[in-house]
Symmetry: C2
Subunit: 244 residues, 2 copies
């Protein structure tokens, strides 16, 4: 059973301020919780249904598990579905990555669902590091974690002073604009930074000035724009087809 204090903590971790204060975040839903077993993340507690606990007994043996009904888990969850398991996990600390290999940089991408979807597609294309401006969505927001579909364990997101990071990076910076060279014609280098802006503001000047190559996804129809996560996936596909 989930105690009153535990419920209070689960609720609190829905808020960024509280996640920061406790240095903890929530991983919710069966698929995402199962991914924790293959990651280096430190799991504090797992709250789950009796079924989930018995089905995953072997993997859960080293964790502090609390059995709870689906009803109680749903009440405790910040999400509307997929509540068979909720884990409380330590926010990892890692150094800001060196600018090397193929990376993604995000300027002002404030929607947690978009950030999560970008993490998922980054993982598909084998990207390990995302560097995000401080005003991007919180990588540990429950909606972000949920949208990653388990990829949160394989892709590191660092929030930092993005312009300062880009300034010291010794890599080509491919910036996605509505007007630039078609990604169907761009010759991408094997290593580089793909810089994406938000749907409303695009790449802001403070980051745009470090762009070495303006690129664009060619349009064939009437839509004015693409969702930022969609655009990120399409451009990564174009980069990887040249350097697989």
């Amino acid at each position: 059973m989930i105690s009153k204090n535990q419920l209070k903590l689960l609720r609190a971790l829905g808020q960024k301020k509280q996640r920061k204060a406790h240095s903890l975040f929530l991983v919710q839903g069966e698929k995402n919780v199962l991914e924790l077993f293959n990651s280096d993340l430190v799991v504090k507690n797992v709250f789950a249904t009796a079924d989930f606990l018995s089905e995953n007994h072997a993997s859960l043996i080293e964790f502090d598990c609390v059995e709870a009904s689906l009803d109680d888990l749903t009440k405790a969850s910040t999400l509307v579905s997929n509540n068979a398991a909720i884990a409380v996990v330590e926010i990892p600390t890692f150094e800001l990555p060196e600018a090397t290999g193929l990376m993604i940089a995000l300027d002002g991408v404030s929607d947690p669902g978009n950030l999560g979807t970008i993490i998922r597609v980054a993982d598909w294309y084998g990207i390990k590091h995302i560097v995000a401006s401080s005003d991007c969505a919180d990588p540990y927001n429950p909606k972000t974690i949920s949208a990653t579909m388990g990829s949160f364990g394989r892709v590191h997101v660092s929030q930092t002073d993005l312009p300062a990071y880009l300034e010291q990076a010794n890599l080509p910076v491919y910036g996605a604009f509505l007007e630039g060279e078609s990604v169907h014609k761009t010759e991408f280098t094997a290593n580089g930074i793909l810089l994406m802006g938000s749907e409303s503001h695009g790449i802001r000047e403070h980051a745009a000035k470090y762009v070495t190559d303006k690129i664009t996804i060619p349009a064939f129809g009437g839509a004015e724009s693409l969702n930022v996560a969609m655009a990120t996936g399409i451009i990564l596909d174009n980069m990887r087809r040249q350097h697989s």
Copy 2:
């Protein structure tokens, strides 16, 4: 002011059964409502703030407009944000399209947000027709319309008996599977049907048997799958780069 009867209708149109009974659907949010002015859709009413009505006076002249406060519009809306305008629109009737050109077919894609995002990316790549199995999400669900970001006016979605449609279609059917030929290596024909299944069930056997070419998006990292809308966008980009 929105009358009680109007409010009742707006509320009712959140439900599929009621949309069918009235043959009406909702278009919500400034961007989506503005798109109506450039479409062939028949608009019954526009409920909007005084600001919206005065800013778009010229475009709105032929419509039956009702001024309402943002508060009242928010109460009437089925969405949480973007409520400066809500339009009640007739569900268009059109023939099931002939299988020609480049098309998308969807098997069991039941999430309205995914369907809306697919409509948006289809529009980006100039696709005019989507043929969807009867158990796909309703193309007139408010969440679908919202996710299209205005592309609902340019892309027709027909719900039909998908296997029967594929059987009579005289075009190559490219089916997206987790195992198939890499889309980076596939030689696509200029005309064809891209068939996508749901994230949970993939393409079901009743539709899979009409697939002429199994294709896949090559993976480079740890993610097990991509969101169906994301996968659709990436494959369309690969098709269009060969036949632009």
